[in-house]
Symmetry: C2
Subunit: 391 residues, 2 copies
Amino acid sequence: MKAISILGSTGSIGCNTLKVVEHLAGEFRVVALGAGKNMEKLAEQIRRFQPELVAVETEECAEDLLRRISNFKSRIPKIEIGATGLIRVATHEQATTVVSATVGAVGFVPTLRALEAGKRVALANKETLVMAGELMTEAARKNNAEILPVDSEHNALHQCLRGESSGEVRRLILTASGGPFRTKSKDDIENATIEQALNHPTWNMGDKITIDCATLMNKGLEVIEARWLFDFPADEIAVVVHPQSVVHSMIEMIDGSIIAQMGVTDMRHAIQYALTFPLRKSSCLPPLDFAKLSHLTFEEPDLEKFPCLALAYRALKIGGTMPATLNAANEIAVQAFLDSKIRLSDIPKIIESVMNEHESQPATSLEVILETDARARKQAIIKLDKNAAAD
Amino acid sequence: MKAISILGSTGSIGCNTLKVVEHLAGEFRVVALGAGKNMEKLAEQIRRFQPELVAVETEECAEDLLRRISNFKSRIPKIEIGATGLIRVATHEQATTVVSATVGAVGFVPTLRALEAGKRVALANKETLVMAGELMTEAARKNNAEILPVDSEHNALHQCLRGESSGEVRRLILTASGGPFRTKSKDDIENATIEQALNHPTWNMGDKITIDCATLMNKGLEVIEARWLFDFPADEIAVVVHPQSVVHSMIEMIDGSIIAQMGVTDMRHAIQYALTFPLRKSSCLPPLDFAKLSHLTFEEPDLEKFPCLALAYRALKIGGTMPATLNAANEIAVQAFLDSKIRLSDIPKIIESVMNEHESQPATSLEVILETDARARKQAIIKLDKNAAAD
């Protein structure tokens, strides 16, 4: 039985990972869980999966959790706190696979430590590779660790690339749903409400990533992620808009052949694949029903309507600390939009303005990257204040 | 430089194979060509490719050819005649790959001999596997020969299966264009003209196979072919109608994932793949342009409107000599339709009636299969005469 740790166990990917573990009864045991503040859900997970270790965000969380689980008949796990706690979860000695599913930059260091400890990382936290792709992939290479993508697009690419020689791949083709504003005008995007932006056509996800889908920044981050996961340059990673999200991504071979992976839009598929690779196991999900499929369509992305995607390509081509700058500025801008402080169309403006003031340097150490991240966030907040003052 | 032989060099697949050889300049040389009666084209091919050996159908063809090529400055090939000639082409000692692209049963014995000689066979002649799948695959296994499918659907399946373990494949999914009568009524099919039946929506091919596409018998034969190429039982080979022919076929994995191969509808892709496998080489074809793709649709095949497909599944499930019987009766019935002797809807009736009278036996020898083929043709002709008398 393989042992796994989960960073972000009470989030969407974390909960789905536990569903997959339940489905694959007897194949995996859960040794450590890292959660945020949802102690009710974490207590349930402890009852069901009996981990040896859990990490929570604060002392208060730990006290809350203890009250909830102290009367459990089964083993009470060790409880760790904060960033150190997450690192302990990520490096638990028994764990051979670590699911990295926290949102944003918090999973960054724990994920790096898991790779340094030679573990397979099932990676759902895309910021990790966006901020520190070189550092992460270098750590994986040196420590013989694997990164298995849980993002449905990259998971699809991983599947398509099986049995192919990467020198025979002409380009990777990431599919994008196009988000809720695909058919809308620039004006509509300008005046979009939070509710409209959160109304994703095909996937049900958290708020931050759903806004990223609305601006196509999510696809931009995925382009950067793909560059590091599969070692392809920016100009060999294409994006095609495919509103039905049935084709999860594709590769184009030098002989013109396209290999595509398709499936239902449920994260459990990619999670299970990342856990069981190189094997495949029977799924708890229904197969794709071709007779019930609507028509599938494809179109070029509109970089003018969605400047975030172009900004991501630009950051990737500049390289170094520029992608981390893009990512940090985006996180701040998206939160400001969710807090009703800016319009959706202000997001790319703020990012571009932060990028314009950033001078990229090699992103070869944790310190440089974390410093870049902090500085870009500060810069973005300054831009927000200026934006507010101008209104 | 690899040496190849082509059975059926003046046909559509043969000519496309030579285009691929020209495109891959310096990778392949043509050592032997087997043609039918088109001596003008064969003479051109000799001038261009300078094979050592050619086979033609009759003495008269040989004389005609000699007149055409006797003044060539380059080497004049040895000319062989008839069935023996085709076998010499198929077993030419220098050839490592034999492209088997004759139409109908004539390629049957030469293809078997090529496999017995341990050659890679790039197989476009589907009747070979339909009639004698067990014999062919057994010969390949015993002599360490490979069969690489040139049919676009099977070629797609071969590509999808790369890197996958066949025990983890739930089913093969052959796509079918649905032919010119997909959206037509049973009455329309009943009264279809030859011109209507020859009007294939996506592929440009010979008459026999185009009629097979109109009745969906082509897909039925492909199901049988897939059974032998990939060793899957009938109930793990599905057919999905996909009118745009962009997805050439798919596999469904046990974890629910679909791996699909897509591309332009040009046989040169599959031919090149079969020649260069396990390598892929740059193609002379334009890549698939997603921005220009119309929408892709999928639907279940209508077995009531297209009984030929159901008959093929039935023949495959019965096994033994039944598929050879189906194939022979179909060849006779299709020719009768092309000769305006029967209606399109009579084709399945004649086949079913011949199948009903056939008692299947193990198809383990050449003699049994050739005898089955001859008997089924005779039976089909008798049915045709009865059909004519009844009119």
